[in-house]
């Protein structure tokens, strides 16, 4: 099990039945996420990266469907949402019920997973503790509006881990967070994949997020994968012009700041 891939996508195609019926949103996408590996899926808005994630979770919106290829998790008949694969989204506050406390969310999720509270009284607190909360008990009675974006994202991750999934889909999970919070959440994901052998599909448009966390990178544009490879190779020797353009913009921005006076800026990998 430890060496089984967490996710294998073969020739996936997704089309929309709305408007221009039959328009391909994703064409012949192939991806593989190994156990304990982070695959960075780089792409801009509209590249199809979010649709790919939704297809894995079987959450495609009405009017959009898979029209070719397959999504599977080796060792499983079908990918069970919440148990085998979990997803964390860009806007954490939109994913919580505003009139339910965090404790309430945990209770609901545990019930859905068949883990009743009376036999597992500490599961919620343990999960929150693993997600980096110093005092989990104080978080449970809070409502979502009382928590910051970073706290909510950590709580989302804690909820996602409850079912013990093999795969975590993080769709722009840190895009709305400020830098220090982002570093913390990425560190949490890093820790989880090391301790649990979690496979992570890290969807982002920010190359530095991929640089921080990804083992391998796939570049996506207009619904197609342009190239895939180890993160070092992609950054040092991109094969596709589009990748080169992205990297150029990325380095341009970064190198403006990474001057010799700043010994810290280049290796902020400690998290």
């Amino acid at each position: 099990m430890a060496t089984d891939a967490a996710l294998v996508i073969d020739n996936l195609s997704i089309e929309t039945t709305h408007g221009q019926a039959g328009r391909r949103l994703v064409s012949d996408v192939g991806l593989r996420v190994g156990a304990g590996e982070v695959l960075g899926l780089i792409g801009e808005s509209g590249s199809g990266k979010s649709m790919t994630c939704l297809a894995v979770m079987d959450l495609l919106p009405p009017g959009v469907r898979v029209c070719g290829g397959s999504v599977r998790m080796p060792g499983r008949e079908a990918i069970r949402r919440g148990r085998d694969a979990a997803m964390v989204l860009q806007n954490p506050s939109g994913c919580f019920d505003p009139v339910m406390t965090i404790g309430g969310h945990f209770k609901e999720t545990l019930r859905a997973l068949g883990l009743p509270r009376d036999r597992n009284p500490d599961r919620a607190a343990v999960a929150l503790g693993e997600a980096g909360f110093d005092d989990p008990e104080s978080v449970l009675p809070l409502y979502p509006f009382q928590m910051s974006g970073g706290m909510l994202q950590r709580a989302m991750i804690a909820l996602a881990m409850l079912g013990g999934p093999r795969l975590l889909l993080a769709d722009e999970a840190t895009t709305d967070l400020d830098m220090p919070t982002q570093a913390g959440v990425l560190g949490l994901i890093d820790r989880l994949r090391k301790t649990r052998g979690l496979g992570v599909l890290l969807v982002t448009h920010d190359l530095s997020v991929a640089a921080r966390l990804a083992d391998r990178v796939a570049v996506m544009r207009d619904g197609r994968i342009l190239e895939t490879g180890p993160v070092g190779r992609i950054f040092a020797a991109p094969r596709h012009d589009y990748t080169r353009t992205l990297l150029a913009a990325h380095f341009d921005l970064h190198d403006a700041l990474c001057a010799p006076d700043f010994p810290d800026a280049g290796d902020a990998a400690t998290a």
Binding site: H18, P61, P62, G63
Partner: protein, 279 residues
């Protein structure tokens, strides 16, 4: 447009019904076959015939003509009611939401008081004070319903006031009236149109209900609710006296509800997708 209609097969018939009702109300003199108030005891409870398409009522009056003329009272009163409610709620709710602070607080407390009363009971009470008659029915129904609409408008204005495009418009030099007309009213108007259309059926039932109780139009003015009220005693002997006006009310309410739903779906594409196409 065609695609819209195809996806919602009930809309075309609903529009046809509404058009038909409007025509009825506007061209009543041309469409009626007879004077609706002309009694003729000789024809009492006459069954449908060639000269009298729907038969005659217990006073020998033409049912068909009374239905046609009755549309004026039923629809006209509802139109006046909606107009009154919308004007009142937009001004009060809009001002309350925009100005905020103490004004908002005071207005909302007034609305709260009005909203605590069940609408029908409050309407009865007001008619008790004002007296019977269609005008007073209209006033009473406006008075009991404006508060709910005002709350809706105020809520929407509150939300919109802080939206970035309203802030951006302020920075771009828009004056308060300019803001209201270009940036705040249009989104509200759409939503309020949906609510109003969905409520028309409810208002019609209110008017008919109060008329049925004898509190609305006074005899001999035809109105569908009154026609049902008058014909109560003939339920077994001549059910067509109740059937036809009842059918008119039913058709009107259904038509407006269908249109209201379609309008709402049209304005909110996400909702439409979730509910699937058609009804």
């Amino acid at each position: 447009m065609i695609r819209f209609l195809r996806r919602r097969p009930l809309v075309a018939p609903a529009l046809a019904v509404v058009a038909f009702l409007l025509a009825m109300a506007l061209f009543a003199p041309q469409l009626a076959t007879d004077d609706p108030d002309r009694t003729d005891i000789g024809r009492k409870l006459a069954p449908p015939s060639l000269s009298e398409p729907l038969g005659a009522d217990h006073l020998g009056r033409s049912i068909y003509s009374r239905l046609v003329y009755g549309s004026r009272a039923s629809l006209g009163s509802v139109a006046l009611i909606m107009a009154g409610i919308l004007v009142l709620s937009f001004t009060v709710g809009g001002a309350s939401g925009y100005l905020g602070g103490a004004v908002d607080g005071a207005v909302m407390r007034v609305c709260d008081v009005v909203l605590t009363f069940p609408t029908f009971i409050l309407a009865l009470f007001l008619i008790g004070i004002l007296g019977t008659g269609l005008t007073n029915v209209v006033i009473a129904i406006v008075a009991t319903h404006w508060a709910w609409y005002a709350r809706m408008v105020r809520g929407m204005v509150l939300q919109l006031r802080h939206r970035e495009h309203v802030l951006a418009a302020r920075v771009a030099g828009a004056s308060a009236p300019g803001l209201a007309v270009r940036h705040i009213l249009p989104p509200i108007a759409g939503q309020m149109a949906v609510l109003a259309t969905l409520d028309i059926g409810h208002m019609m039932l209110h008017v008919s209900g109060l008329s049925f109780l004898g509190l609305g139009v006074q005899p001999p003015t035809p109105e569908w609710g009154v026609m049902i009220g008058d014909a109560r005693q003939f339920l077994r002997t001549a059910p067509q006296l109740i059937l036809f006006p009842g059918l008119m009310i039913f058709l009107s309410v259904m038509a407006f509800n269908v249109l209201g739903d379609a309008l709402r779906d049209h304005l909110d594409p996400h909702l439409a997708q979730e509910h699937g196409h058609g009804h």
